[in-house]
Amino acid sequence: MGRRTVSVAAAAALTMGLAACGSSDSTPTLTWYINPDNGGQAELAKRCTEAAGGEYRIETSLLPREASAQREQLARRLAANDSSIDIISLDPPFIPELAEAGFLAEIPDDVAEAVTENVVQGAIDGATWRDELVAVPFWANTQLLWYRKSVAAAAGLDPENEPVTWQQIIDAAQSQDKYLGVQGIRAEALTVWINALVTSGGGEIIDNPEAPADEVQLGLETDAGRAAAQIIEDIARNGLGGPGLANEDENASMLQFQGDRGSFMVNWPFVWAATLAGVEGGNLDQSLVDDIGWAQYPAVAEGEDSRPPYGGINLGIGAFSEHTDLAIAAAQCIVQPDNQAYYMVTNGNPASNTEAYEDSEVQDAFPMADLIRESLEAAAPRPQTPYYNEVSTGLQNTWHPPNSVTPDSSPEEATTLITEVLKGERLL
């Protein structure tokens, strides 16, 4: 903890003590709608309440576990002008929809400048809509290529030093008779994978994300879209995703990767903390941890850079809040680099501010911290459109199950379905 925070906290404690004699009831209470985590956001709320010195108090309110369910609840509440929503932990893909509807309070330019200083580009992109910052970048997530060193060595690959392509890890898994860890479940995880494949191939799922619903152009019927479908087909048709590919989520991928047939896996950094916890709990062997390596997300074509997935949480300010100014101040407090470092170390969620990566505790807890930061700089957000839910669900409906995906028909099917749905001519 920095010296400044300590002194602020001390001052806060003093003023709080004094305020307690007066009328503590007049302290405005800010409600922070948080996604479920390991208690990190509640702790940050406590810290910032103390730091505010009686200016405001932050209370947390829990949203559902699934990002889609979080969006559903927030959209309904905000559509009804819910004034109890002051600060919101937002999954980035849904930010354009809420911003376009006028559900997010404007962020003043000076604040926008302050909260984007030293922040990785992926997180800034994810918090931006129509060239304006509409949310405060909080933590930023990205996927890495995790691999079993023994398998990579046997297949003659060195992902740590030489970036690998999807073709290379497909061949390696095939020659070593192992499973690849990818997310084939009909859920957001599948969209994350498809988007990473399409953008790594130099394409975009949507060419004009800011267009009105009936003018949206999809970029799937391109070489990049077909290359993405080809990779999914190769993995699914050859059984390389394992028997549970069609409903494999991030957690299932991790379990498979930890097993005897684990080889390569694309996944978020939570798998590292979870694997270490498994060793500590005696369920996994230390030799497994020693065998795990990490590298940049696989590329689609040799010599090209990959665009890893981007996720995380940004803080939106409720447009109907009675204390917008205080909420913005509170959000600025929450995203301070030392708070982000604390959150990363204790909850395993990577910081969006590069300063947090200098923290020695972060470096100790995440030996791959620098790679995460680099990956975040290169990360590509999912299509930033107010109709993200339609786009994502349309993709999931047409590119699932994975063994039905082919480069000849899947991009076309998805394009037709999504275009018609956006025009209001189809059900989803």
Binding site: E97, A246, H400, L427, L428
Partner: protein
């Protein structure tokens, strides 16, 4: 025992008939009717508020193109939403899947529920409370909880079904139950049957209790076999109860949502009609289109009730023993 029952019955009906015949509308009858209205009135008002009002509201909303996050663009489109829904293969596939699940679950539950009702009916007095509780436990479990339980049991990573039943051909550690249509629907149906058979058996038990014991005894004296008594005495006498049980379960099964939502989220073409309504209204926030799906779902339910009551001549009043 049967003799006392019969006398009791005749005694009561003679009394009723006598009173009704003498004075058509006495003060007492009028007072009773008024009391009836007072007693049923609040429930009737609540019914109007919680069912009629939302249904009318949904119908009204279904005439608009209306997205919750874009209220300014709301426009009246008449019946266009219905045209979109009814011309979409997704709707017809969902209807097909829903009908498939409904027919299979209700058919199996009727047979199974009847057997369980017989067991409960015939059980020794000492065993009866335990047996009834045991049979009713699944029904007491919240559907979402039972759906999760079944989901995790069959899940390829955490499930025990694959290892317990690996002696069955076709089941092994690699069987992905939620990987394709047939197996997904199998688990959904199995979970549904496990969960709601107690409901149907409870209704049938009430029906069994109505079958006069003296008829059974008379049939036994005449030398009828167990099967003959079942077909000629028991089932005809509880037809009304059977039909009501089937009607209630069919309506319930047609609105299936929780199991599909938890287990597949509609993957592998397991989308059902309720799920389609949920997807349009809650996920897509397309209030107009979603309301149209909901109204159509409501019409399907009305149609099912109508068919049951007209074709099978279900008499709701007689099932309750009023006539």
């Amino acid at each position: 025992m049967s003799v006392t029952e019969t006398t009791g019955d005749t005694g009561r009906s003679a009394d009723d008939g006598g009173r009704g015949g003498k004075i058509p509308v006495s003060d007492r009858v009028r007072a009773e009717r008024r009391l009836g209205w007072w007693l049923a009135g609040p429930a009737f008002v609540v019914m109007l508020l919680v069912t009629a009002y939302p249904i009318l509201q949904a119908f009204y909303e279904s005439l608009f193109k209306y997205r919750l996050t874009d209220p300014d663009a709301r426009e009246f489109t008449g019946l266009n939403n219905y045209v979109v829904v009814l011309t979409d293969p997704v709707w017809w596939r969902a209807v097909g899947v829903t009908v498939l699940i409904t027919v299979i679950t209700v058919a199996i539950e009727a047979v199974l529920g009847f057997a369980l009702a017989l067991v409960m009916h015939r059980a020794l007095t000492t065993l009866r409370p335990i047996l009834r509780t045991a049979i009713l436990v699944p029904y007491a479990i919240i559907t979402v909880v039972s759906a999760f339980a079944w989901f995790y049991a069959f899940d390829i990573n955490s499930g025990f079904v694959n290892s317990w039943f690996d002696f069955v051909p076709g089941i092994g550690s690699d069987t992905n139950w939620f990987g394709e249509f047939g197996t997904s629907v199998f688990v959904i149906i199995a979970s549904e049957i496990w969960k709601t058979t107690p409901f149907i058996s409870l209704l049938l038990l009430a029906g069994l209790a109505q079958v006069p014991e003296d008829l059974q005894e008379a049939a036994k004296v005449d030398g009828a076999t167990w099967w003959q008594r079942m077909y000629k005495v028991t089932i005809p006498n509880m037809k009304a109860a059977i039909m009501v049980a089937l009607l209630f379960r069919t309506l319930d099964a047609f609105r299936i949502f929780d199991n599909v939502f938890i287990m597949t989220q509609g993957a592998n073409n397991t989308e059902v009609v309720s799920f389609l309504a949920y997807r349009q209204t809650i996920s897509r926030l397309e209030i107009g289109l979603g309301s149209a799906v909901s109204v159509l779902l409501f019409l399907c339910v009305v149609l099912i009730s109508f068919l049951f009551i007209k074709l099978f001549k279900v008499d709701l009043a007689s099932a309750r023993g009023e006539r």
